[in-house]
Structures are given as C-alpha cells and as structure tokens.
C-alpha cells in the first residue's frame, strides 16, 4: 500500500508539471527544492536527535558552490550542482568535526554561531558573494548527447528539480532503511545504550551530520539554479530555523513528513506574507504551539498517538 502511495505521488508530480499554471509551477519548483532540504535536515534532527542551527551554512554554500563555477568558469549546470554538493560535504565535515563531540547545549549554540559567522563573512565578502544584492547567473544548456535541455524552457526547471528530488528521496530512503539508518534511530532513542552496544556514537553522529549537510547543500544549489541567483542572505539564521519549522509542522523522524511541512508552510507563506508583512510572528507562535503539543511534530503526533517515544532529549 505504501509503495502504491509513493508511486501515485510520483505520477502526480510528473503530471502536475504539465498542467499547473506558471505561478503555481514555480512555487512547486521551490517546494521540491526545499523538500530535499527538509528531508536532509530531518536526518540530523529527526533521526539522530542533533538539533543543528547551522544548516544555513550548507544551504548557502551549496547555492554559491553551484552559482560561482557557472559564473566564473562557465561550467555546465550539472557539474556546478555537483561542486555545490561537494562544498557542502567539506563544510559539513569541518563543522561536524568540531561540533558533533559536544554536549547538546554546546552543539546547538556552536552550530548557531557557525551560521551567524558565515552570514557575517558572506555579507562582508562582497567581491565573492555579491553581498546582500547577490549574484545572478545565466544558465547554460544541459546536453545529454544530441539532446539539449534548456532550463529556461518553462518545464525545464520543473523536471530538473523533480529528478533531483526523486533521486535524493531514493538515496535518503535507502540510507534510512539500511542498518546505518537503524543505528541513527538507536542513537536518537538512547545514545548511551547505543554506545554500550559497541557503536562509536560520535562517528555515526558525524556521518548523519555529513549526509544531512551534503543534501542541504544540494537543495541550496537547486534553489539557486531555479532562481538563477544566490545572495548572502542564504547564510542567515532564517535558513537554519525554517527547516526546523518544516520538520515540526510535518513530523520528525520520517522523510515524507518534512515534505508535507514544506508544502504547508510554503503555501502559508505564499498567501499570508502577501497580506501581512509581519508573518514571522505567526512563525514564532506556531513554533511555540507545536512544541507545546508534540515535540514530534504535527504529523508525528497523529501517527504516534498512544505510541511511546517522540523526540527524546
């Protein structure tokens, strides 16, 4: 039944690209890019209980890692996305090495400091990042042998991002379902006992952080490609908070849940930010309310009703 549901979802995503009007389609592209971010973030928060406030570093790095090679060295889109992906991996490794071994309180604070420092630097180094104004780029065509795909075709970006979303989902699904994923969950449920079983908890936490950071960078790269633009604002703390909101709205510890969170929050932002400038207040209230009701997120609350567990701390 579950497989059927996934199949149906994929088909509807494929068809939606054709039938949606222009505005809705670009909103959909944005949601799909963010969905990768949300799933990646959940690997960190929902699967290994590492509440990071530093994911904007990887999101921004992914965006610039993708935009800069296209802008300066005239790389193709795919190699550039791959460079952004690698940049995320490197940064996740460096920041993870420092932060993963820290205690919970230190971890959240230090990752938040990473985010703030990178934002400061990105705003300051205008020669590299373009600062607040950002950098725009013209996307080259993607060639598959004789076939040339232009991302300026209305459907180009949609199916480009959709392909990455499906690939990303499959990759993360495989990881989560593998023994490695089981160890992640074991760490979330009880870190001490997992260590007693002989697993090196730090190494597995670092692996989870790496996977999470790298896919976040991929999402940043895709988002930048869909906008043909990157700004230093991608490093701001907002981009570290928003994935938490997605995961909390959708449900922690699942892959589909955060995507539902993305869809709900994107629609919410799309409509509410149009008539109320201060919609971040609603974000704040929402965060407090959801935390009060269930730390597993809304979806997690309904699925896990009666069941033990939740976001263990």
């Amino acid at each position: 039944m579950k497989r059927g549901f996934t199949f149906l979802l994929v088909i509807s995503l494929l068809v939606l690209g054709l039938i949606l009007p222009r505005g809705a389609r670009s909103l959909m592209v944005q949601m799909m890019a963010f969905s990768i971010f949300a799933m990646a973030y959940d690997i960190s928060l929902g699967f290994t209980n590492q509440c990071s406030l530093g994911h904007s570093v990887f999101f921004g790095a992914g965006a610039y890692g993708t935009i800069l090679p296209m802008l300066h060295w005239h790389f193709g889109v795919l190699p550039s996305v791959f460079i952004g992906f690698l940049l995320g991996l490197v940064l996740a490794f460096l920041t993870g090495l420092i932060s993963v071994r820290l205690s919970e309180a230190y971890f959240v604070i230090v990752t938040a400091i990473f985010s703030a420092i990178f934002h400061l630097l990105a705003m300051d180094m205008t020669w590299l990042t373009g600062g607040d104004d950002g950098l725009s780029v013209t996307l080259p065509k993607i060639g598959f042998g004789p076939l040339k795909l232009s991302l300026y075709h209305p459907l180009g970006t949609y199916y480009f991002v959709l392909a990455f979303l499906l690939a990303g989902y499959l990759a993360l699904r495989t990881i989560v379902g593998s023994p490695l994923g089981m160890i992640f969950v074991a760490i979330r449920e009880n870190e001490k006992r997992t260590a007693f079983l002989g697993y090196n908890v730090r190494t597995y936490k670092l692996i989870a952080f790496l996977i999470s950071g790298t896919f976040t960078a991929l999402s940043g790269g895709l988002y930048a490609v869909s906008l043909r633009y990157a700004t230093a604002d991608f490093f701001s703390l907002y981009w570290s908070i928003i994935p938490i909101v997605w995961c909390l709205v959708g449900g922690l510890g699942t892959l589909i849940g955060p995507c539902i969170g993305v869809a709900l929050m994107s629609l919410f932002q799309y409509y509410v930010s149009a008539w109320w400038t201060y919609y971040l207040v609603i974000f704040g209230v929402l965060i407090l309310l959801i935390l009060r009701v269930s730390r597993r997120g809304i979806l997690g609350y309904f699925i896990g009703r009666g069941a033990r567990g939740g976001w263990r701390l």
């Binding site: 509440c51 230190y106 230090v110 938040a112 400091i113 201060y278 704040g284 407090l288």
Partner: protein
C-alpha cells in the same frame, strides 16, 4: 586620529567598555542556562527591547536616567509570565528551549519592527563630557557606562554570593531536585532567575542605546558575541562568563585597530574554535555541562 600608545589604548578601552556591557548581558544568559537549562536565543532581543523602550522614554521624558530605572521594571513584568507560562514546560531540554526562544525572538523582533520601524535611530549622549587621556579625547558617557556596568556586576555578584536568595539560586544551579527536596520554592527561584537575567540584558540595552544605534535587529550582533563568550567561558559558569567577556571584548577591541569589525569578529570565532578543540566544555565549564 590618535597615534602610538594612545591609539592602541583607545581601542583597548573601547573593547573593555563593550566587554563590561557584554559581561552584563552574558551573565544573564549564563544564569538562565545554569538554573533552568534554557539556551535563550531571545536574550539579544530582550537587550534590543531595552534599547527600544529606552528610546521611547527618552523622547517622552527627555531624560535618559528615568528610562534606566523604568525599563528594567517593564522588562521584569514581561519576563516573569514568559518564563512561567511559555518556557516552563521546555526547561531542561537545551535544544527545545533554543527553538522555543527562537520563536519568542521572532515575535519580539517583528513587534519591534511593526512599532519602532526598520530604520536605525540614535539617542543623544546623556552626558556630554569628554576626558583627555594620553592625548586622546574620550567621551565621558562611555566611561560612565563602564562604571555603571561594573557596579551592577559587583551588585549581582554580592547578591548571588552574600544573600540568602542568591544562595537559593546557586543551590538550584547545582542541583534543582535536591534544592527542591530541601524545601526551596523552586518556582520562585525559576521566575526570579529569568527575571534577573532578562533585566540584566535590558539594562545592557539601555546603557548601550546612546553609544550604538537602536535597531530592531541590534540583538543579533550582541547575542552572537554573548554566545561565543559563554561557550569560551564554559556554559553555566559565572566566573568563566565574566572573564571570557572581558578578555574576548578587549581582544576584539584591540584587533579592531588593525582589522575591520567583521575580521575582528572572525578572529574571536577562531579563538572559540581553538578553545573548543582543546576543552569541549569551555575554559571554566564542568565536564557534565
């Protein structure tokens, strides 16, 4: 432009004065974490609220010193119910409190943006005197701020180490359950500590308002430095917080003589990373923190 020794000294004193304000704010942050396990992301915004309220009172009464008295009272009145009714269920879980206080931070910032506006404003210095020192003219108000901050820090110290209420707070910091078992009214201690910590941040905001710009995002800059301070000093260690605040701000101030502010901040960040590599619990932190 001053030269030589006076030049360096100017920046060093500037750094030290900021250090005292930062120490004041970080002390509140550290206290709140130590007693109730709240990583308070909204602490910088309470500082901002202090500055914004001060701006309103100065334009209302035309007197800065009245605002220094009234603003802490108002912030205390806001902080007490915030702790009791919003933060209480999350206490003791660092990441949950961090996310929850991010929510509060969003609300405070947007309220400030909606009422105060998005344009930075200035308060004129309430004490227009300057001192000549080694050939450098130094604004008197800044020295006064340093003196007031130092006095308040000493006051807080005496309160925590010499009064019975302070002993209750420190006892709760060490072991909340045991303190409760000894008959301490933990409820009062929790509210009291959060109010004290928030008032310290608000006083910092009032004092800093005339020497920096009043802006709805001004807390972000300060909370970053405060977090680095408590990380380097050791979470929940009051001595560590104090020493780290003075040390890091002086270093940053001295480096501002040669580097841009962002570069100086990046250097402080590198110091933090180095400290974390050697001592993951901070300079004065206990292993359990």
């Amino acid at each position: 432009m001053p030269e030589g020794v006076g030049f360096i000294l100017f920046y060093l004193i500037n750094g030290l004065i900021w250090g005292l304000i930062i120490a004041l704010i970080s002390l509140g942050l550290s206290l709140i974490f130590g007693v109730m396990g709240i990583v308070n992301m909204a602490h910088g915004d309470i500082y901002m609220i202090g500055a914004v309220l001060s701006f309103y009172f100065v334009s209302l009464f035309g007197n800065f010193w009245i605002s220094l008295l009234i603003v802490p009272l108002i912030v205390a009145l806001i902080a007490a119910p915030t702790e009791r009714f919003i933060l209480r269920p999350f206490e003791g879980h660092p990441s949950v409190t961090m996310i929850a206080t991010v929510g509060i931070s969003f609300i405070l910032q947007q309220v400030a943006l909606a009422t105060f506006g998005g344009i930075p404003k200035k308060i004129s210095s309430p004490w227009e005197v300057s001192f000549d020192f080694l050939g450098v003219s130094y604004p008197g108000y800044r020295l006064l701020v340093a003196a007031i901050s130092a006095l308040i820090i000493i006051g807080v110290w005496l309160f925590l180490y010499r009064t019975s209420l302070g002993i209750l707070i420190r006892a709760s910091m060490q072991d909340k359950e045991m303190a409760s078992a000894m008959g301490i009214n933990v409820n009062k201690v929790l509210i009291g500590t959060f109010v004290l910590g928030s008032v310290l941040a608000a006083i910092g905001g009032v004092l800093a308002a005339p020497i920096s710009q009043v802006f709805y995002l001004m807390g972000n800059d300060v909370i970053l430095l405060c977090f680095i301070v408590v990380i380097v000093g050791g979470l929940g260690s009051l001595e560590g917080t104090l020493i780290a605040a003075l040390l890091l701000s002086s270093v940053e101030g001295a480096m501002a003589a040669f580097l841009t502010p962002t570069e100086a901040r990046a250097m402080i960040f590198i110091i933090m990373v180095a400290v974390l590599m050697l001592r993951p619990q901070g300079l004065f932190g206990s292993n359990s923190a």
